[in-house]
C-alpha cells in the first residue's frame, strides 16, 4: 500500500455513503481554532487512526454539514472542514 497523499481523497469532501480506509492524517489548514498538531491528537483520540475503516452515515441539511462517520463500532459527528484532515482510500461500499 504505497499510495501517496495526492492519490487519496479527503473525507471532508466525500459523498454520503462513502466508505474508505484511513491512510493519513494531516490537519494543517483544517481550522484556525487549534494548532494542527492538537487537531490531529483529538482526531486520534476519537479513534481516527491510519488503517481504521470509516463510512459517512449521515449528513446535515445546511452545506451537507456536519457528517456522522462510523469508525469501527463507534459513530462520530464532526464538521467537514475538520474531516478534511482525514485522508482516505476508497473501499467498496458495504454490501
Amino acid at each position: 500500500m504505497s499510495a501517496t497523499l495526492a492519490a487519496l481523497s479527503r473525507l471532508g469532501a466525500a459523498r454520503l455513503g462513502f466508505r474508505g480506509r484511513i491512510r493519513a492524517l494531516d490537519a494543517s489548514g483544517c481550522g484556525r481554532a487549534l494548532p494542527p498538531a492538537e487537531l490531529e491528537r483529538r482526531l486520534l483520540e476519537m479513534g481516527f487512526v491510519e488503517g481504521a475503516v470509516v463510512e459517512i452515515r449521515n449528513q446535515g441539511l445546511f452545506g451537507r454539514d456536519p457528517i456522522a462517520v462510523r469508525v469501527d463500532d463507534a459513530t462520530v459527528a464532526l464538521r467537514r472542514a475538520l474531516a478534511n484532515a482525514i485522508h482516505v482510500e476508497a473501499l467498496d461500499p458495504t454490501p
Partner: protein, 643 residues
C-alpha cells in the same frame, strides 16, 4: 511505594484477624470514556448514598458516593468526569487527570481505579486503560453493557484481555440488579491484597504516542474480541430517520414541542398545589401571629420567598425528565448534530440548543442544563444568553400590559394584534440572544478558540428507569439546596427593602409606599424618567427582583388594588390604562424583554459559573440593554405623539 504511604494503609500482614470493616474506607475513582455507562455504574454501586457538590475552586461537579463491599469493606467512590484521554483538554478532564494522579487538592489519592468500558465499543476505552496503566495504581476494568454485547453477537476472551492489558477484567451490567456481583467480588479480592504500586511514569502523549497506543489497543481487541457475524443495524436504521436532513429536523421540532407542552401542562397541577400549600401556610401564620413586622417576615419573607422559588420545582423536574430520557436514549448528541450549523452561526455550540429551549420555561433549569456542554467557553456563552429567552415568569407581566394597552383587533387579514405583539416580544428575545452571543464571540472570546465540533453519537439504547430516577432526585436536591440558601437569602433582602420601615399608624397609603423600596423608587426617578417610568413602576421593579411576575402583584399594591384574582388583574389593567401613556407601557415591555430582574437566575449563574464576575457581567449587560431598549422605545413613541 509512592501512594501506599497515604492514609488508608495496606492490610498489615501480621494481623490477619483485623476485620476489613475496621479499615479506613478504600478510595476508588470511577473513570471511563463519555457514554460508557459510568453514571449508571455509579448509581448501581452507591444507590442513593450520593453527594453532589463542586470541586474546590472549579465549577466541575463532584459526585461521591459510598457503599460497603460484600466482604464488609467500606468504599468511597468518586465519579470522575468522562474523558477519552488523561491529556486534559477541559477543566472537567483536568479534574479527572489530577484525581487519577492523586494530586487533586483536598482529595485522597485513589487506592484503585475502576475503569468502565462499553463492551460494544471498546477501542477508545482500551486505549484509555493503556494510558491509565502508566499512573501506577491498581486498575479494574469493567466491561459494562455486557449483556447487550453478547446479545449482538460479540465474543470475548476475558482471560486473554486481562493478560494483554495486565489488569483484571470483569463483565458487568450496571442497569440490572445483580449485574455488579462479579465486579464487587473482584474489588474485594483486590482491596484485601493490594497490589504493589509502581511509580507513576505518566506524561501527556504526543501524536506518535497516541497512534502507537491506539494501534496497540486495536491489536489487543482484534486478539480478544470476536465481532458479530452480522453487525447490529438498529442504530443505523434509526439514524437514517432521526438524522435525516429534513425528517430529522422535523422530528426534533416535534420532540421539542412535546417537551415544551409538557413543561407547561404537566407541571401546572403540582405548581398550583405548591402555590396553594404555601398560601395556606401563609394564612395559618396570619391566624396565629399578631399583625406586625414579625408576621410580615414569616408570611411574606419566609413562606412567600421559599414558595416563590419552590413553585418552579415541578417544571424543573418535568424538563429534566425529558433531558435525562433523551440523553439516556442517545438522542441528545443527535439533537446537537442536527442543530450544529444553525447554532454555530451565532457562535453557539450545537449542544446549547436544549438549554436555550429550556430557558423558555425558566432560565434556572436552562442554566442548569448547560452542564451537557463540555467546553467551558461554550457553556459560558450559553449561560450568558439563556436569560434572554422569554421565560414563563415574564408572561404575567406581558399579558397585563398587552391586555391594557394593545387594542384587541385584527390586522393584516386575521392576525390578532395582541398575539402579534406577544410573538414579537418572544422574537426580540430570541434575536437578541443570538446577537449577544455573536458579539461575545467577537469581543470576549476573540482570542480563545472555539472547540471544534466533534462528538460521539452513542448507539441507541433503552433508557434505564433507575438511572433516570437517580438523575431526577439529584437535580431536585441540587435545586432545593440552592433554593434554601442563596436564593432564600436574596428573597429576604428584597422583603426587607419592601417592608422596612413600617408605615405610620395614620397611614393612608399602602405599606410599601413608606418602605425603603419606595425611597429607592423615588431616588431612581431621575434615572428612569427618561425611559418613561414613574416612581410607582420603580417601586414595583424592586420586589419584581425576586421573581418577575411579582411585579404584577407589586403594581397592584402600589395602586392599592388587589391583583390576586382575575377580576383584580382586569381592574389593574384598566387603572394602568388610565394612568400610563402608551409610550410608558411599551417602554416597560421593552424593559422586561432584557431586564435582569430575577434574583434566582443571578444566584444560579453565580453558582454554575463559580464566579461573581460572570454574574455581574450578565447583570450589567442585560441592564444596559434593557435601559437602551426602553429608552429607544419611549423616546420613539413620544416622538410619534404617544407620550
Amino acid at each position: 511505594m509512592s501512594y501506599l504511604a497515604a492514609p488508608p494503609p495496606a492490610l498489615p500482614q501480621a494481623e490477619p484477624k483485623l476485620r476489613p470493616a475496621h479499615l479506613a474506607p478504600a478510595h476508588i475513582a470511577l473513570v471511563g470514556t463519555p457514554n460508557c455507562g459510568k453514571t449508571a455504574m455509579f448509581n448501581a454501586l452507591t444507590g442513593s448514598r450520593q453527594k453532589v457538590a463542586n470541586y474546590a475552586g472549579v465549577t466541575v461537579e463532584r459526585k461521591e458516593g459510598g457503599f460497603v463491599t460484600p466482604a464488609g469493606r467500606k468504599v468511597k467512590l468518586l465519579d470522575l468526569p468522562g474523558t477519552y484521554s488523561l491529556r486534559a483538554r477541559s477543566p472537567d478532564e483536568e479534574v479527572t487527570r489530577d484525581a487519577v494522579l492523586g494530586r487533586l487538592p483536598g482529595e485522597a489519592p485513589p487506592d484503585l481505579l475502576l475503569c468502565v468500558a462499553d463492551a460494544t465499543n471498546l477501542r477508545l476505552a482500551v486505549r484509555l486503560v493503556l494510558d491509565l496503566r502508566h499512573v501506577g495504581r491498581p486498575i479494574l476494568l469493567a466491561l459494562n453493557m455486557y449483556d447487550i454485547a453478547q446479545h449482538r453477537g460479540y465474543g470475548f476472551d476475558l482471560r486473554r484481555l486481562a493478560a494483554e492489558l495486565g489488569v483484571p477484567v470483569v463483565p458487568a451490567i450496571a442497569v440490572r440488579r445483580g449485574g455488579t456481583e462479579a465486579l464487587l467480588a473482584r474489588l474485594d479480592s483486590m482491596l484485601a491484597a493490594p497490589a504493589a504500586a509502581t511509580l507513576s511514569d505518566w506524561q501527556p502523549r504526543g501524536r506518535t504516542a497516541i497512534r502507537a497506543q491506539q494501534n496497540e489497543a486495536d491489536r489487543i481487541i482484534a486478539a480478544c474480541v470476536t465481532p458479530p457475524a452480522r453487525p447490529d443495524t438498529v442504530t443505523s436504521r434509526l439514524d437514517a430517520v432521526l438524522l435525516h436532513p429534513v425528517a430529522g429536523l422535523v422530528i426534533l421540532l416535534a420532540v421539542l414541542f412535546l417537551m415544551f407542552q409538557a413543561v407547561f401542562t404537566w407541571a401546572q397541577p403540582p405548581m398550583d398545589a405548591i402555590k396553594a400549600g404555601f398560601d395556606w401556610l401563609g394564612a395559618q401564620a396570619g391566624q396565629y401571629m399578631p399583625e406586625g413586622l414579625a408576621l410580615s417576615f414569616v408570611r411574606d419573607g419566609l413562606i412567600g420567598g421559599v414558595g416563590a422559588v419552590l413553585v418552579f420545582l415541578p417544571q424543573i423536574l418535568v424538563l429534566f425528565l425529558f433531558i435525562l430520557l433523551l440523553e439516556d436514549f442517545g438522542y441528545m448528541a443527535r439533537a446537537a448534530f442536527l442543530m450544529d450549523r444553525i447554532m454555530g452561526g451565532a457562535g453557539l455550540h450545537g449542544r446549547a440548543f436544549i438549554p436555550l429551549l429550556s430557558s423558555f420555561a425558566c432560565a434556572i433549569p436552562g442554566i442548569m442544563a448547560t452542564r451537557v456542554i463540555d467546553s467551558r467557553r461554550d457553556r459560558l456563552a450559553t449561560i450568558m444568553v439563556a436569560p434572554l429567552m422569554t421565560c414563563s415568569a415574564r408572561i404575567p407581566v406581558y399579558t397585563l400590559i398587552i391586555a391594557a394597552f394593545i387594542p384587541d383587533r385584527t390586522v393584516w387579514g386575521g392576525l390578532q394584534l395582541q398575539g402579534l405583539v406577544m410573538f414579537g416580544l418572544y422574537a426580540v428575545g430570541i434575536g437578541s440572544a443570538l446577537g449577544v452571543s455573536f458579539v461575545f464571540k467577537r469581543l470576549v472570546w476573540r482570542n480563545s478558540p472555539a472547540e471544534p465540533f466533534m462528538l460521539e453519537l452513542p448507539d441507541y439504547k433503552r433508557p434505564s428507569g433507575r438511572s433516570i430516577m437517580f438523575g431526577l432526585i439529584q437535580r431536585a436536591r441540587v435545586f432545593l439546596r440552592r433554593a434554601g440558601t442563596t436564593i432564600l437569602a436574596m428573597m429576604m433582602v428584597i422583603w426587607f427593602l419592601a417592608s422596612v420601615p413600617r408605615p405610620p399608624a395614620d397611614a393612608d397609603q399602602p405599606a410599601i409606599n413608606y418602605s425603603l423600596a419606595a425611597k429607592i423608587g423615588h431616588f431612581m426617578e431621575p434615572v428612569l424618567s427618561p425611559i418613561g417610568f414613574n416612581w410607582q413602576i420603580n417601586v414595583a421593579l424592586l420586589p419584581g427582583m425576586a421573581a418577575r411576575e411579582v411585579a404584577v402583584a407589586s403594581l397592584g399594591t402600589v395602586y392599592s388594588i388587589s391583583a390576586e384574582d382575575e377580576q383584580g388583574a382586569d381592574r389593574l389593567g384598566r387603572t394602568l390604562a388610565g394612568k400610563w401613556s402608551l409610550a410608558t407601557a411599551l417602554a416597560l415591555l421593552a424593559w422586561y424583554v432584557f431586564a435582569p430582574q430575577c434574583a434566582s437566575t443571578l444566584a444560579t449563574v453565580r453558582r454554575e459559573t463559580g464566579s461573581w464576575a460572570w454574574m455581574w457581567v450578565l447583570f450589567g449587560y442585560m441592564l444596559a440593554l434593557a435601559y437602551a431598549a426602553a429608552f429607544a422605545t419611549y423616546q420613539t413613541a413620544v416622538a410619534f405623539g404617544l407620550g
